[in-house]
Symmetry: D2
Subunit: 94 residues, 4 copies
């Protein structure tokens, strides 16, 4: 099933600025080749459930190398029979 996942990840217990960690996750998402949309509070990733979860797992594995505690949030929209929805969703509400 094709999904869109809005994903955020950052460490707890590090500096107040977490952008250097978030940028490592963004780099992994970009390298995945999956469609994505970067927003100020997270990144939306579109693809098959398993492939999106593999990318998210890779982000977590990367950050946990030097972060003792990580916080992640996900909002998932799974819709049967539809793909390439990210841009359409924005167009339909604006």
């Amino acid at each position: 099933m094709s999904v869109i996942v809005d994903f955020s990840i950052f460490p707890i217990g590090k500096e107040e600025s977490v952008s250097k960690y978030a940028s490592r996750a963004v780099k992994i998402i970009k390298e995945s080749g999956l469609a994505h949309h970067i927003s100020p509070m997270g990144t939306s990733i579109e693809g098959e459930w398993d492939e999106v979860m593999r990318v998210i797992t890779r982000c977590m594995e990367d950050l946990k190398q030097d972060c003792g505690r990580l916080y992640m949030t996900m909002k998932v929209d799974c819709r049967a029979g539809v793909s390439g929805r990210m841009d359409k969703k924005i167009n339909k509400v604006t």
Copy 2:
């Protein structure tokens, strides 16, 4: 305190497509004049806590006129002494 709030709102118990409801919320956010960023899974709004919450309350009041049940999610980033952060946050991770 200046905040960035990633906000989603949609009805439960209506059609499978909720874009016509989401677009009413997006219209209210745009008319508020607050800085915002529309993404496939929600809209980030930046401003003082009270003014952002007033806009979100207005979205809820509008949709509850014809929706018996609403679901909303918010992710809030409150940071002292910084404003105009939405674009900077994206630039710092990309």
Copy 3:
């Protein structure tokens, strides 16, 4: 409209353990007299939208006294014509 809000709050840029901050929020929620349910990842609060938001604002005001950056998440379930739903919701799914 009566709402149930699942609420989490913690600082970014402090220690890895954030329980001393979370416990200040839990104390404020308890003192509010609103129905609530404490879980490992957040607290559900039930009441009218305005009164729940007042309690959440109080938590934020309290923590921002000694935290430069706060992260909060909320999931909101607004349902017309129903109150006292927190226990019922658990009973209906278990």
Copy 4:
């Protein structure tokens, strides 16, 4: 890495009451044998990342059989070197 995941799942485009769908997910979580805590707005599940994600995938697969659109939210707390944290987390804030 041991994680605690606060997880919610429900269909969009079905009835206003979604408890019959949520209860199917709760049943799958219970049968998994993983430690869990049911709250009014979601269920916290504790375990290794891969095993928790397998249970969540099972919930999604089950509901997508008769739901054209699903919405899920997750809040994830990953902390190195600690397990059996669910009850401790509640005790530390109350």
